[in-house]
C-alpha cells in the first residue's frame, strides 16, 4: 500500500510538471501564464506552508497557528540580508547565502515555538502559538529599524542567472514544484523513520512513549523544528513571489488562511495541504468574478463551510466517503 501511495504521488508530481505545457496548449498565452504562476504556483507555495501545519497535526497531533509567522521569519531574514532589497537594512549577501540563512532562522523559530509550547496541548497549544504569531506580527509591524514597519521590505526579486531567472513564471513554478515535491517526499520518508514512529506514538499516547524511554519533549521540539524548516521554504518562495514582504503577509488573516487550507484539504495526509491550498487559491482569486464584488468573501466562507460540513476530514475525506458509498451500493 505504501508503495502504491508513493507511485500515485510520483504520478501526481509528473502531471503537475507537464501541466504548464498542457495549459499553454489549450489557453491563450497570457492566461496559461496566469494559471501557471498565480494559481498553481501560488497554491504550491501556500501548500508548503500549510503542509508544515498538516505535518504537525497529522503525525504529532499538534495544531500550531504559528506556521505562517515562521514562514514570515524566513522571508524577513531573506529580505533583511539580501542585496537589492528596498530599504537596505543589512544587505550585502547574495541569494545563495541569504536563503539558507532565512531557512536556519525559520528552523530556529520553529524550535523556539516548540520549546515554548512544549507543555501545552489541544486548545492551549492553539492559543499559545496564536499568541506567539500575533506577538511577532505586531512587533514587525511597529519596528521600523529592522522590519520597516507597515510597509515592509520590497524589491526582493529573487536570484537570476543567465537562463535561470526566478521572475520568469515558468522557472518560478518549477522551482516551487521541485521544492514542494522534495519536502513532500521528505515528510513521507520521515514519518516512517524511527523519529516519525515515535512522533506518531506521542500523538497516540505520550505517556506510553515516555515509559518506553523516549524523551517526549525533545521529539516534540524537533518536530516543530522540522515544521519550521518546511514553513521557511514556503516563506522564502512567497517572499520572492511577492517581490518583498510586509506585515500583512503574516497577519491574523494570513494565519487563519493557512489553517483553512489545511482543514479544507484534510488533516489526514500531507497531500491535503496542497489540495486545500489549490481550492483556496482558486476561490480567493475567482470569487469576485463569480459572485458580487462587494460580497465575495461570503461565497468563500460558504464554500469552506460546505466542505467542512459535508466532510469533517476535508477534501481528502470526501474521496474516502465516496468510495465507502460506492462499496455499500455494490453490496
Amino acid at each position: 500500500m505504501r508503495s502504491a501511495a508513493a507511485t500515485w504521488s510520483l504520478l501526481g508530481v509528473l502531471a503537475l510538471l507537464a501541466l504548464p505545457w498542457l495549459l499553454a496548449q489549450v489557453l491563450p498565452a497570457g492566461q496559461a501564464q496566469f494559471w501557471t504562476a498565480n494559481i498553481l504556483g501560488r497554491a504550491i507555495v501556500f501548500g508548503i506552508i500549510a503542509m508544515s501545519l498538516t505535518f504537525l497535526a497529522t503525525y504529532g497531533g499538534f495544531v500550531s497557528l504559528a506556521q505562517m509567522m515562521i514562514a514570515g521569519v524566513a522571508g524577513y531574514v531573506l529580505a533583511i540580508f539580501v542585496d537589492g532589497a528596498v530599504p537596505r537594512i543589512v544587505g550585502g549577501l547574495g541569494y545563495s547565502l541569504a536563503v539558507p540563512l532565512g531557512l536556519v532562522a525559520a528552523t530556529a523559530m520553529g524550535l523556539l515555538v516548540g520549546a515554548i509550547s512544549v507543555r501545552t496541548r489541544d486548545i492551549y497549544l492553539l492559543m499559545i502559538t496564536l499568541a506567539l504569531a500575533m506577538g511577532v506580527f505586531r512587533f514587525v509591524e511597529t519596528n521600523i529599524a529592522w522590519f520597516n514597519g507597515y510597509e515592509g521590505i520590497r524589491n526582493v526579486v529573487g536570484p537570476a542567472m543567465p537562463g535561470f531567472d526566478v521572475r520568469d513564471p515558468m522557472v518560478f513554478y518549477h522551482v516551487a514544484l521541485g521544492t514542494a515535491a522534495l519536502l513532500y517526499f521528505g515528510v513521507l520518508y520521515l514519518v516512517r523513520s524511527p523519529f516519525g514512529l515515535v512522533l506518531q506514538g506521542i500523538r497516540d499516547n505520550p505517556r506510553r512513549v515516555a515509559a518506553l524511554g523516549y524523551s517526549v519533549a525533545l521529539h516534540r521540539i524537533a518536530a516543530f523544528g522540522v515544521a519550521g524548516f518546511i514553513a521557511g521554504c514556503g516563506g522564502t518562495l512567497s517572499t520572492i513571489y511577492n517581490i518583498g514582504i510586509s506585515p500583512g503577509t503574516i497577519g491574523l488573516g494570513a494565519t487563519v488562511n493557512v489553517l483553512i487550507m489545511s482543514v479544507i484539504g484534510g488533516l489526514g495526509h500531507p497531500v491535503g495541504a496542497f489540495i486545500g491550498s489549490l481550492i483556496f487559491t482558486v476561490f480567493d482569486t475567482f470569487a469576485a468574478t463569480i459572485y458580487d464584488r462587494d460580497r465575495f468573501n461570503t461565497l468563500i466562507g460558504l464554500v469552506f463551510l460546505v466542505i467542512v460540513l459535508v466532510s469533517p476530514d476535508g477534501a481528502i475525506g470526501i474521496g474516502a466517503r465516496l468510495r465507502r458509498l460506492l462499496a455499500a451500493g455494490r453490496r
Partner: protein
C-alpha cells in the same frame, strides 16, 4: 487504501478545477484588435479599514464612465472591478489577476500607501501596461525610484498639508502641538508636510504613533490632554480616525484640532457618534473640501448627489472618490488624445499621459512633473455646521503645489524619506 483513493480524487479534482478555469478563460478572450474595448481594471479596497472609501471610489468611477457612455476616443471602455484589503501582497495578487487573467490594459488603483509602493514595483516588471494611481498618497511611490509606467494625477500626503503648518503657527499663533498619527507611510508623509512648515517657523511637535488598525487610543489621549500642546494634529485614516475622535470626545477633550486630509472627510463626518461635536471647527488641508467656491466642483457634487444620494452615497463625494476620479480624468484625457490607440506597447498613450493637463473635479488644474507626479492645488479647510450638517468648507487655496512643496528637489531628497524617526522637524 484511503490514501490511494484520495490521490485519485486529487487528480480528478484538479482536472475539474482546470476544466472550469478553461471554460472561464474561453469566455474572457483577450482584447487585441484596435477597435476592441479598452479594458480598464479598477483596484480599490472593499474590505478592511478603508472599505467605505473604496466603495465611494467605485461610485465616482461608475458615474463618470456612465456620463461618457463608456466610450472614449471611439473605443468602448470595459471596467473590471477588483478589491484588496489595504495589504500590499493582496493588492499585488489582485493586480496580477487583473493584468494576466482579466487582460486589462490599464489599472486604476490602489487606494493605500503600501499598496501603491508594491504596485509601483510591479509596474516595472510589466511592458505594454500602465498603472495609474487611485488614491494612494505615499510620497516615495513617485519621488524615489519612480517607475516609468506608474502615473499619479492625485497629489501625495505631503502636498496635502501645504500651507497648514504656516496657518497654525502664524494665523492661529500656536507654538506647540501634539501629533497623533498612524504608524505607516501615508501619515508619515502627512506629518512630514505639516512639520516642514511648522517646525521651520519655530514650532514644536511631540509625536504619538499608533499602528494601522488601532482601536484603543485612551492612554494616548490621556497623555495628550495632560501635555502643554496648544492643539492636536490628528493624522489617522478610516476606522482608526473615527476611534480616536470618538474616544477624544468621550474623554472631554477641548484642545483645538488640526486634521490630516482623510480626517476631514465625509467618510468621517457622515458616521454617527460623539466625534461630530469635537470636529466642528477643525482645520485641515487637502485636495478637496465639501464646499469649494468653484463651478466645476459644484457641478460634480450635484451630479454625485443626483446619482448616489439614494443609493448609499455620501452628502458630498469623499477624498478617495475624488482622487480616483482625478486619475480617471488623466486616463480619459490621454486616451482621447491618442484616439484610443494603445498599440506599440502603449508608447503614445503613456506620452500623452505624461503631457496631460487636466482639470480635477475640484476645479484644480493638474499637470505632471518629470516623475509622473501631479502638481496641483491644495485647499485649506474648516469644518462648519451648515443646514444641520457638518461640512468641510475651503477658506483658502494654494495653487500649483509640487511634490517638494516648492523646495528644490535635491534639497528635499536630502531631508530623507518621511518615517517615524524622520517626521520633518529638522532645523
Amino acid at each position: 487504501m484511503t490514501i490511494k483513493i484520495s490521490r485519485r480524487v486529487m487528480l480528478l479534482g484538479s482536472a475539474g478545477l482546470a476544466a472550469g478555469g478553461l471554460a472561464a478563460g474561453r469566455i474572457a478572450a483577450p482584447a487585441i484588435a484596435q477597435n476592441a474595448p479598452i479594458r480598464l481594471g479598477g483596484l480599490t479596497t472593499l474590505e478592511g479599514p478603508f472599505a467605505t472609501g473604496g466603495q465611494d471610489a467605485y461610485r465616482c468611477i461608475q458615474m463618470e464612465l456612465e456620463r461618457i457612455n463608456h466610450t472614449v476616443g471611439g473605443r468602448k471602455i470595459e471596467f473590471v472591478r477588483e478589491s484588496s484589503n489595504a495589504q500590499a501582497d493582496v493588492a499585488l495578487a489582485r493586480a496580477r489577476k487583473l493584468v494576466e487573467q482579466d487582460n486589462v490594459d490599464i489599472i486604476l488603483g490602489p487606494l493605500s500607501g503600501a499598496e501603491g509602493i508594491a504596485l509601483r514595483d510591479y509596474s516595472r516588471t510589466l511592458s505594454g501596461k500602465t498603472i495609474v494611481n487611485g488614491s494612494s498618497g505615499a510620497s516615495d511611490t513617485t519621488l524615489r525610484n519612480p517607475s516609468p509606467n506608474f502615473f499619479r494625477f492625485s497629489t501625495d500626503g505631503t502636498q496635502w498639508m501645504a500651507g497648514l503648518g504656516r496657518h497654525v503657527y502664524q494665523t492661529l499663533g500656536i507654538r506647540e502641538v501634539a501629533v497623533t498619527a498612524g504608524d505607516y507611510a501615508f501619515p508619515y508623509a502627512q506629518v512630514f508636510g505639516f512639520n516642514l512648515e511648522f517646525c521651520r517657523l519655530g514650532g514644536r511637535a511631540t509625536h504619538y504613533w499608533a499602528p494601522l488598525g488601532t482601536t484603543d487610543f485612551t492612554s494616548q489621549i490621556a497623555q495628550i490632554n495632560r501635555s502643554n500642546a496648544g492643539a492636536i494634529v490628528v493624522v489617522h485614516g478610516g476606522t482608526d480616525g473615527l476611534a480616536f475622535m470618538t474616544q477624544y470626545a468621550q474623554a472631554g477633550g477641548n484642545k483645538p484640532l488640526i486634521g490630516g486630509s482623510i480626517m476631514a472627510d465625509q467618510t468621517m463626518l457622515s458616521a454617527r457618534g460623539p466625534h461630530r461635536r469635537v470636529m466642528i471647527g477643525m482645520i485641515s488641508g487637502g485636495p478637496i473640501a465639501d464646499v469649494i467656491d468653484d463651478p466645476t466642483w459644484r457641478d460634480f457634487v450635484e451630479r454625485y448627489r443626483k446619482r448616489w444620494l439614494n443609493e448609499g452615497g455620501f452628502q458630498s463625494p469623499s477624498i478617495h472618490g475624488v482622487n480616483y476620479t482625478t486619475n480617471l480624468y488623466g486616463i480619459l484625457h490621454a486616451l482621447k488624445a491618442v484616439d484610443g490607440d494603445l498599440s506599440n506597447n502603449q508608447a503614445a498613450f503613456q506620452q500623452a499621459l505624461a503631457k496631460a493637463e487636466i482639470t480635477a473635479p475640484t476645479g484644480a488644474t493638474v499637470k505632471l512633473d518629470h516623475n509622473r507626479q501631479a502638481i496641483s492645488d491644495i485647499f485649506l479647510n474648516r469644518i462648519e455646521e451648515r443646514q444641520g450638517n457638518a461640512q468641510v468648507v475651503a477658506f483658502d487655496r494654494a495653487r500649483a503645489i509640487n511634490q517638494t512643496l516648492g523646495m528644490p528637489e535635491e534639497q528635499f531628497l536630502k531631508l530623507g524619506a518621511p518615517s517615524r524617526d524622520n517626521p520633518g522637524c529638522v532645523a
